[in-house]
Every structure is written in C-alpha cells, then in structure tokens.
C-alpha cells in the first residue's frame, strides 16, 4: 500500500494538453471586460491539465499520506499545533462572519467587533495585562510589536541610549532576531545547570544601555524560570522593560499571569495556546498584551466599547501608537477561532488546559525516565514539555536523536522536535499537550521502550529507519548542499 503511494506522481506529470474538468470551469468571469488590456496576461498560466477525477484521486491519495494531529499522536505539541476543536472552525465560518466586508460601516459589523472586544478582554484577564491589541498577524509580528513598543516608550521618555535587549540563552530563537530587526543590540545571558537565568551574569549585563529583556517562560528548556521575580527586579532597577515571550503560555494558562509578574508586554501565539489552525505556514495571530505604561504605544486598530456600541480605535485615539501592522484586525478569521475556543473553555477550562498539559508532560517524563531515557534536567519538574537527551545512547550504541525520531514514524507516531534547543546535545523535545488520553501516551511510551531495546540489540535498524513509510531516510545533507531550485538569477 505504502509502496504504491510512494509512486504518486506530481500532478504536472499527469497533465495532458487539453484535458480538463469542463463542469468545474467558470463560464465567464464577471467584470472581466473591465480589466484593461494592458493588465491582462498574454498567455494562459501553466496549470496541470487533468480530469476532475484525476485531481480528486491525486489529492485524496496525498491527504492519506498525512501524519497529522487528526491521525496520529503528535508530540510537537502546541509549539506546532494543538488539536483544533472542529466547533471553532464551524462557528468562525458562519456566513455572517464570512460575508462581512472589512471596509463596511461599524454598524454592520457589531457582532464581529463584539467578538474581538471580548477576545481582547479575555486575553487581558488570562495574562493580567492592562490592554490587548489583536492586530499582529503572527508570532514574529507580535514580537516585533513588543520590542517596537519598548523602543517607542524609551524614545518618548527622551532616553535614546537604551538600545540593548537582553536575551537569556534559553529564550526562544526568534527573540534575538526580533531585537535585531527593531534596531537593538542583543546581549546574551547564560543559564545555570538547572535551566534558570544566571543571576550574576544578568546583573553584569544590565545598565543605562538596557532597553529591556526578552524572556521565554517556561523557557525552551521546558522548565519554569524560578528566579522570575529576581530577574524582574534587576531589569526594572536598571530602567529596562520586561518582555514576556508567550510561546509557552500553554503551561501557565490561568495559573500564573505575566502581568502579575510585573511584565510590560507579552505576545501570545493564538495559533499555539488558543488552538487555531496553523503549521504549514499559517496564518497565525500574535496578539500583544501591554502594561499601563505601554498601552499608548499599542499597534492599531483595537476595538473600543462606548455606550453599548463597538468601534475601531485608531490614530486619533492612540496618537503614540507604533502604527498599523495589518490592514484591519490582523487575521480576523484566526482571531475568531481563538475567541470560540476560549468561550468554549471558559475560565475553569483554561486552568484545566494548563493542568492537563503539565500533567501529561510529567507523566510521559516519569515513564520515559523509568524506561531508561535521560531527562536533560533531572532535578526539574516539566512544564508542558520536557527534554530527554540521548547523549549516553549516542556514545554507547552510536545512535542519534534523529534515528529515534525516524524509528518512531514506523511505530505510528509523529516525531518530536529534534536537536532543539541547541543547548542540549542529542535531544528530543516532547510536548504531548492536554488533549491526549492516557492510552495514547502509554502507546508512545511502549514504542520508545521498543526503540531503546532495538538500540541495544539491533542499532542498524534505527540508523536506517524509517522502514514502513512511503519514502525511506532522505539525504537531508545532500538536499541542503545541492539545492534543486527552479528559480534562476537574472542573466
């Protein structure tokens, strides 16, 4: 079966000149005649020419090759995509939402605006921040908005010297990139052996040049930053602002709030924690929450409620805003899905998300440790995710984290994140999320036990895995060295 699927050609290879699906063709395009001749293309686009049934079969077969959250346990977790409840999708697709034009008058979109207003409110509540803007289109843009606000704040204070952003080494890899994009210098601070920020190094790093710190908490090491209040004090005393990377918000939802920890800005990946679809490139949504002192600098638009009516607030309301990051309300459809998700969970449900996410992660960690795997931070409890290191197995059996990841595919499990974070050698970063049943977690553990046994007795089986997939081990080195590009530089 898989052998057959492996031979599924590219749809262009099925193409025959003149073949098409007549029933699917649009007879005439309304408005076509109004497009000036100069703007029309001279030749038809190079599309595959296949019958309707050929197209249906091709894409159905491809979809059957998917390893996805709807088909398999997926230990990439919220970092890549949690389970998306189907109701979020159906409700966000109501015709009243789909048919609404973003340039329509506010009076025609009160329902939608109410949803966005309430979403702002719920995100404020769950993070403890003073205000929320939903306009960033993705996590990266949320980060950009956050640091841009920090810069705008210092500038408004007339403090032009603060251009350095402190980034602990266990922070999200995007943080230094964001700081650089915002014109700041990056100052890295190491972590101690237990995964907490090295306080002495932080003290040495702050000064009158410090614009702020970007902290991921729980960090990419899968542990909660225990010295968070000390970190806050040191950075605040130095006059810096505090940025909370919300990528790992799933672990703390409803339990602790960045606002209560004294943070000035947080970006939230609604497409992670709040379960909207993503993976494969988006769209995401990177809402930002801010403290009182950063509220005037929020990206616009945001939604205000006045006298029972909702309206867009923009330049006139927030003259110090860092500006627009998207035309209207960011990825409105994604925001709507997050809104439905949060309304379905309610306050109690949100706390349950964090509790079950942490419980599932710690259960897996305990069972894998008993099975003979080494936790990277054996002294620490996991947050919503944890890291095991195969350094010992690599030495003893000459197998790698990648070999284990590939062999998991043969057992019917999507591979976890490999070789990230870079601080831990031969690592697997495992995040089950809150939605997995105990039986599924146990099935994963059984597969990991089988794989460890195989590492001892038949390591070659691991090194050449996967064995049951449509394609075997790909040569990723050759693929990266000899790029197969259709793009050619201009002569």
């Amino acid at each position: 079966m898989n052998e057959l699927k492996a031979r599924e050609p590219v749809i262009f290879d099925l193409s025959q000149p003149g073949r098409n699906a007549a029933a699917q063709m649009v007879a005439s395009v309304p408005g076509d005649a109004q497009i000036p001749q100069s703007l029309r293309r001279g030749s038809p686009p190079l599309l595959p020419q296949v019958s309707e049934l050929q197209a249906v079969r091709h894409f159905t077969r491809l979809s059957q090759l998917n390893f996805s959250i709807d088909t398999h346990f997926y230990p990439l977790g919220s970092c890549t995509m949690k389970y998306n409840p189907k109701a979020c999708n159906s409700l966000a697709m109501l015709p009243e939402f789909l048919g609404r034009h973003p340039l329509g008058p506010e009076t025609h979109g009160q329902g939608f605006l109410a949803c966005m207003y309430e979403l702002q409110d719920m995100l404020k509540e769950v993070t403890g921040m003073q205000a929320v803007s939903l306009t960033p289109m993705a996590g990266a843009q949320g980060e950009f908005a956050g640091v841009a606000m920090i810069r705008a704040y210092h500038r408004a204070q007339g403090d032009l010297a603060r251009n350095e952003i402190i980034v602990p080494e266990a922070a999200h890899g995007t943080n230094p990139a964001t700081a650089t994009m915002c014109g700041c210098k990056v100052r890295e601070v190491p972590c101690d052996a237990n995964g907490d920020v090295d306080i002495d190094a932080l003290k040495a790093a702050v000064g009158p040049q410090t614009a702020g710190i970007m902290l991921t908490n729980p960090s990419t090491l899968g542990v909660f930053e225990r010295k968070i209040l000390q970190v806050r004090q040191i950075v605040q005393d130095a006059g810096g602002l505090l940025y909370y990377d919300g990528a790992n918000l799933n672990a703390i939802l409803g339990k602790v709030r960045p606002g209560d920890m004294g943070f000035d800005v947080i970006h939230m990946n609604l497409h992670k924690t709040f379960s909207t679809p993503h993976g494969g490139g988006g769209p995401g949504s990177g809402a930002v929450g801010v403290s009182k002192r950063l509220a005037p600098f929020m990206p616009i638009p945001v939604v205000y409620k006045e006298g029972g009516r909702y309206r867009w607030a923009a330049e006139a309301d927030l003259p110090q805003s860092i500006g627009r990051l998207s035309g209207f309300m960011g990825n409105a459809g994604v925001n709507l899905r997050a809104y439905v998700y949060m309304r379905m969970l309610g306050r109690e449900g949100m706390v349950r998300v964090a509790e079950f996410a942490a419980l599932n992660a710690n259960y897996l960690l305990a069972r894998l440790r008993d099975a003979g795997y080494d936790p990277a931070y054996p002294e620490r409890r996991a947050s919503h995710e944890f890291i095991i290191t195969l350094k010992r197995q690599n030495r003893e059996y000459q197998i790698t984290a990648m070999d284990v990841a590939k062999r998991l595919l043969d057992h019917g499990f999507h591979a976890p994140t490999t070789y990230f974070p870079l601080l831990v050698p031969e690592c697997l970063l495992i995040e089950p999320t809150e939605t997995e049943a105990k039986e599924d977690l146990d099935g994963f553990v059984e597969a990991m036990i089988d794989i460890l046994r195989e590492a001892e007795h038949d390591p070659e089986k691991l090194r050449t895995a996967p064995h049951t997939m449509p394609l075997r081990r790909l040569d990723d080195v050759r693929a990266a060295r000899q790029l197969d590009l259709t793009w050619k530089p201009a002569a």
Binding site: T418, Y419, L422, A480
Partner: protein, 131 residues
Amino acid sequence: MSNVPSDLKYTTSHEWVRPLPDGRVEIGITDHAQSALGDLVFIDVPAAKRTLASGEACAVVESVKAASDVYSPVSGEVSESNPRLADTPELLNQDPYGAGWLTRLTLSSPGQLAGLLDAAGYAKFLDEEST
C-alpha cells in the same frame, strides 16, 4: 575521542588558532565542534578587511541540525577567508584543522594568544564537558 593537535591554541567555544610564519593567525573550529554540529551545509566567512573584536561573532556554520556563530578568539583585521567553503562546506567536516580553516587575521596587538587554552587545557575542558 576527538582530535586536538598540540601545536594550536583553543577557546572554550571550540575555535582553534594557528600562528602563521608571517605573523598572521589562522582560525577554524575544532574537530569536536564539527562532529557535534554534524554535516555542514553552509558556511559564511568574514569578508577581507573586516575588523574583528575578540569574542565577536565572525562566521556562521550551518548543519542540517543547527546554525551556530563562530566567535573570533582574537582581535584583528581579516586578511583573507577560505574561498573553498562556500561550495564545499564538507571540507570543514573532513579536515577541520587543515583545508577547513575559516579565516586568517592580522592581529591588532601581539601577545593575544597567551590568553587562550593550549591543547592539554582544551582536551581537559572537553573531558569535563562530556561528563
């Protein structure tokens, strides 16, 4: 156990430095570093004439696992960088202390090598790091 030639100087961030007969120094990354990174697929080396401070990120080595900065162990001006690495990054995996060198510098001040690890010191550091 990785190869640590006795005639070179080292850093704890896994760079090596070789004094050249004309007074310049040659810089690369160690056998341990290339082995930890795995097969390299892209290497970015500093342009000639660029001035580097000691500890400054000066090159990027990218494998299928990760991209890492290489830090200049000394300060000086780049006189030339290895032109072969752009098309054949595997040279660094095959011969990290020879054909896989990254860049050559004219030192901004003499005596900078004294502060670096010798081979025994680096080997000991590797030992401690692996336990």
